[in-house]
């Protein structure tokens, strides 16, 4: 009775008793019925309606019954890992709220390594943090089965749910994202599964515009391998010059590629050993590039001002040919070969070409030689981590200022070795007093890169500076740096397996 009557009352109230007058409900002898029957339905319809609504509001509110029982929900799989400490949980909450992302990523990695799980109530925020992309792998690992289970409950987290949903999510984002989002996605996917990334790229290749295609090719540099060659080789015939050039550059990074072999064939007849008093490389200017050479990316544009057109073509040939070729030509290793350029014709073109080749082919031997010879930090990126730290530390000794320091450090993967960290702290202490605000930004990066074992060194070096007469911006930046180091230290202690 009460449900039907309530609906009648609502309809009458909505239209107004002027237009729809409620009629006296049939009394059923119960307490509610009797109370309703006592209202002035004939005389004062408004009062009757309001009185009945008041009775029913109380009646329905107090009498609300749960719906019929349902089956229990499927429980999440058991996460056997112990819960992280309250201290670690508090740090996680802070990082989730206001970053920085690099420390959040550290937290997740440390927890995963220690076999500890984050507090489950923070998993929704973790999933939200992963939506943007770069933290996804770390979030999935640290979150464990409970996180995947939770992710299956909401569409925006489908990337973490695993299986078909995650795959569909990737495709959807690839097809609908902005250029920047798609580029970031492609880099992420390439990092995890290079073939899958290439398939994504190919899936929309024919419909993407030239600037997009050229941009996305950049992402193939992540996880570049011989399997990418057929696709890149076909891209050499692309409609867009930008795409063709980018494809040629990538193929030059694959010493086993057909393009590299063609470049080697073009280069070989031009170089030999000469010199009467002292051995040196004898190099001839290459002929005007033919159509095939132009297809392989040899171009007139982009020429540095100190090279002539022929020398620029030569540098591009050197930059795209496999570096092993030089051992065949000179019989020497990288260092000795580099020395043979001294006094040779076209020495600047050779050196530029070698630097290009070492960078593209990630050749550690050549990269180390060139960094040492030139002091140019760019090739640090081509070095394996340990070697890069070592070379970087020697570079720091000669780095004149804070900007030079940053140029070196930003190329070294974190965390840096103890020796490099010490060198960085020492350099900073020497150059900081004259530094300007630019350093406010760089110092937080530095706090992330420093090896934790050098925390004491940082404290004893920077602590006195805090008390001294440095500009307020520098003091704040230093305090931040020490704060981040402290947080990293606490985090490491809290996330140590017990």
């Amino acid at each position: 009775m009460s449900e039907a009557l309530w609906d009648v009352l609502v309809a009458s109230a909505l239209l107004g008793t002027e237009r729809r007058r409620p009629s006296r409900p049939v009394a059923d002898g119960g307490a509610l019925g009797n109370a309703l029957d006592g209202l002035p339905w004939e005389g004062d319809a408004e009062r009757a309606l309001l009185g009945a609504a008041a009775l029913l509001t109380g009646y329905r509110g107090a009498g609300w019954q749960p719906p019929a029982p349902v089956e229990a929900p499927a429980p999440a799989p058991d996460d056997g890992r112990p819960l992280c400490s309250p201290g670690a949980a508090a740090i996680l909450a802070q990082l989730l709220e206001d970053g920085p992302a690099f420390l959040l990523s550290d937290w997740l990695a440390l927890a995963h390594a220690a076999g500890l799980r984050p507090p489950p109530e923070q998993l929704p925020a973790l999933l939200d943090a992963g939506v943007a992309g770069s933290l996804r792998a770390a979030v999935l690992q640290a979150g464990g089965d409970r996180l995947r289970w939770l992710a299956a409950h909401d569409d925006r987290w489908s990337w973490a749910a695993g299986g078909a949903a995650a795959e569909a999510d990737t495709e959807e984002r690839w097809e609908t994202g902005t250029r920047e989002q798609r580029l970031a996605l492609l880099r992420d996917v390439r990092g995890e599964d290079a073939a899958h990334g290439r398939e994504l790229l190919e899936s929309t290749w024919s419909s993407d515009g030239a600037p997009d295609r050229a941009n996305f090719l950049l992402a193939l540099a992540v996880g570049l391998g011989p399997d990418d060659e057929p696709f890149l080789e076909s891209a050499l015939d692309d409609r867009s010059k930008l795409v063709r050039e980018q494809a040629a550059r990538l193929l030059a990074g694959l010493p086993s590629s057909a393009l590299s072999a063609r470049m080697a064939r073009r280069l070989e007849p031009l170089v030999g050993i000469g010199g009467r008093l002292r051995r040196k490389l004898a190099v001839r200017t290459p002929p005007e590039p033919d159509d095939a050479a132009r297809r392989d990316g040899i171009a007139d544009g982009g020429r540095p001002h100190d090279l002539g057109p022929g020398a620029w073509h030569l540098a591009q040939l050197v930059g795209a040919a496999p570096l092993q070729l030089w051992r065949q030509i000179t019989g020497e290793d990288a260092a000795a070969t580099y020395a043979l350029a001294r006094g040779a014709d076209h020495a600047p073109a050779l050196r530029l070409g070698w630097a290009l080749a070492a960078h593209r082919q990630r050749d550690p031997d050549w990269a180390a030689v060139i960094v040492r010879e030139t002091g140019d930090p760019e090739l640090l990126e081509a070095l394996p981590p340990g070697a890069a730290d070592e070379v970087a530390a020697t570079l720091l000794a000669g780095a004149p200022d804070a900007v030079a320091l940053a140029n070196v450090l930003e190329r070294i993967p974190e965390p840096w070795s103890v020796a490099l960290s010490r060198a960085a702290i020492g350099h900073l202490a020497r150059t900081l007093t004259g530094a300007d605000n630019v350093w406010g930004l760089r110092l937080s990066d530095m706090a992330h890169g420093l090896h934790l074992d050098t925390r004491e060194t940082a404290l004893t070096t920077f602590g006195p500076l805090l008390e001294s007469d440095v500009p307020p911006a520098v003091r704040r930046a230093l305090a931040d740096l020490l704060g981040v180091l402290d947080l990293r230290q606490t985090m490491t202690r809290e996330l140590t397996p017990r």
């Binding site: 309530w6 009352l9 609502v10 009458s12 109230a13 909505l14 239209l15 107004g16 008793t17 002027e18 237009r19 319809a45 408004e46 009062r47 309001l50 009185g51 609504a53 008041a54 029913l56 509001t57 109380g58 509110g61 107090a62 609300w64 019954q65 749960p66 719906p67 019929a68 029982p69 349902v70 089956e71 229990a72 929900p73 429980p75 999440a76 819960l83 309250p86 201290g87 949980a89 508090a90 740090i91 909450a93 802070q94 709220e97 507090p119 489950p120 109530e121 923070q122 998993l123 929704p124 409970r146 289970w149 939770l150 409950h153 909401d154 305090a479 704060g483 402290d486 947080l487 606490t490």
Partner: protein, 440 residues
């Protein structure tokens, strides 16, 4: 006193910015002095200035003191200090002079307050003047209520659909007239009509009619207030907004001495006010209690309640048909919960039964605390529910309760919440790994 969890500490922060700043402070060095004893925690916090700030927290209460210029209570330094203490970094030692002086002054003030309140209650009030004031107020309310009665009748005669097209002013003006008639709480209910009418919900007519019906009930009850039992009359006065001074409640209200479990704390912004509702339940008496506090936006609340902790002491209940709102008679003493079931709890049927009895006594009742022993969040029919072990379900309030869902992982756990007659707003959960997690 046992240490609080970081979570409990952060629940004290007046806003999330203070919580964040506090965590940041706790993570840095800048604490040249740090210590605690059974009753208090103190420290020196290095700020941007030359002298460090003197921070101290009296754990009974708790009460906060800091020499920093922030008006927030507790300030970020106090939060940071408590976080350090919570992590075990504030070792036991004797308090430094600044903390000792403050703690002594607090103890003295508390003694004086007790003496003052005793003096006040002993003081003679002029009964004649008081009766005159009361009669004036009753006349004003009666006039306002009569006018509201006509207004409500017009409303349903012309129909809610017609009223919906009126601007917000239409409702606000009616509410303002009630404030003038010294029935501000009733005015608040009338202003809420406007929100219901413009809520955009499919069921707005039914919701609005329920709200109107309850106001109609108050309007028709007022002329007969004299015939009512005292409890119901007090409830009606509260519905109208007749203020009852806290000291009267402390003096005359029903006193219940118990160990009060903090079931949950919920702070909302409402009509340019911050309202904090703290829900308690007595371990021995089983009685629910609500400590409702009001402040301006950005303001802070006196006395802090850490979810899952237990407060020993006496509460005084406001007189009411279904006693719920209460005040601490004096400072409550905090102790850590010792049971394996800190939030306690019933099955859903028992909780709903208690709600029905309370609603039968007080038809204007808006919400009631519930603690459910073993419920799991489950999604069905496009919304979230709490399902008890027998399969019975109560709907959760709008929005996705993700933290609770993640905590439960589909398994039953103890959950406390506010039941508003339609849905449950989760306030806290007690998890399988023995933690009380605040959810509101």
């Amino acid at each position: 006193m046992s240490r609080w969890s970081a979570e409990q500490v952060l629940a004290l922060a007046p806003d999330s910015a203070s919580a964040t700043a506090g965590r940041r402070l706790a993570a840095t060095r800048g604490w040249p002095v740090l210590g605690s004893d059974e009753r208090a925690v103190w420290g020196l916090a290095q700020g941007s200035g030359k002298n460090p700030y003197q921070v101290a927290v009296d754990l009974d209460g708790p009460a906060f003191r800091c020499s920093c210029p922030s008006r927030k209570v507790p300030c970020k330094h106090a939060i940071g200090l408590l976080l350090l203490w919570s992590a075990g970094d504030a070792k036991a030692c004797a308090p430094p002079p600044f903390a000792e002086e403050w703690l002594a002054a607090r103890a003295e003030r508390a003694d004086k307050a007790v003496a003052r309140s005793a003096a006040r209650s002993a003081k003679e009030v002029d009964p004649e003047a008081r009766a005159k004031r009361q009669a004036q107020r009753e006349d004003r309310i009666s006039a306002g209520v009569e006018e509201l009665d006509r207004w409500l009748n017009d409303l349903v005669r012309q129909g809610l659909a017609a009223a919906q097209s009126r601007p917000m002013r239409f409702w606000d003006d009616a509410a303002a007239r009630l404030v003038d008639a010294q029935a501000p709480a009733l005015g608040g209910r009338v202003r809420a009509f406007g929100s219901a009418a413009h809520s955009g919900r499919a069921d707005w007519p039914a919701r609005l009619l329920s709200q109107i019906a309850r106001v109609h009930l108050a309007v028709s009850a007022w002329p007969r207030a004299g015939e009512m039992p005292e409890g119901l009359r007090s409830t009606l006065r509260e519905v109208l907004g007749w203020p009852l001074p806290g000291e009267e409640v402390r003096r005359d209200g029903e006193r219940v001495d118990d160990a009060w479990v903090v079931l949950g704390v919920r702070t909302i912004e409402q009509e340019r006010l911050r309202v904090r509702r703290t829900w308690l339940r007595g371990e021995r008496s089983g009685r629910p209690a609500l400590i409702a506090q009001f402040t301006t936006p950005g303001g802070s609340f006196d006395g802090d309640y850490v979810v899952g902790s237990v407060l020993e002491g006496a509460l005084a209940y406001y007189p009411a048909a279904a006693a719920l709102r209460a005040l601490p008679v004096s400072d409550l003493a905090r102790r850590a919960t010792g049971t394996s079931s800190p939030l306690g709890g019933d099955d859903l049927g028992a909780a709903l039964g208690e709600w029905a009895r309370a609603l039968a006594a007080d038809p204007w009742l808006e919400r009631w605390p519930v603690a459910l022993r073993a419920v799991a969040p489950i999604r069905t029919d496009g919304r979230w529910w709490l399902r008890d072990e027998d399969g019975a379900m109560a709907p959760l309030a709008d929005g996705a309760p993700w933290r609770l869902v993640a905590l439960a992982g589909g398994a039953p756990l103890q959950v406390s919440g506010e039941w508003d007659g339609r849905a449950l707003h989760p306030l806290a959960a007690f998890t399988g790994d023995d933690r009380v997690v605040a959810l509101a």
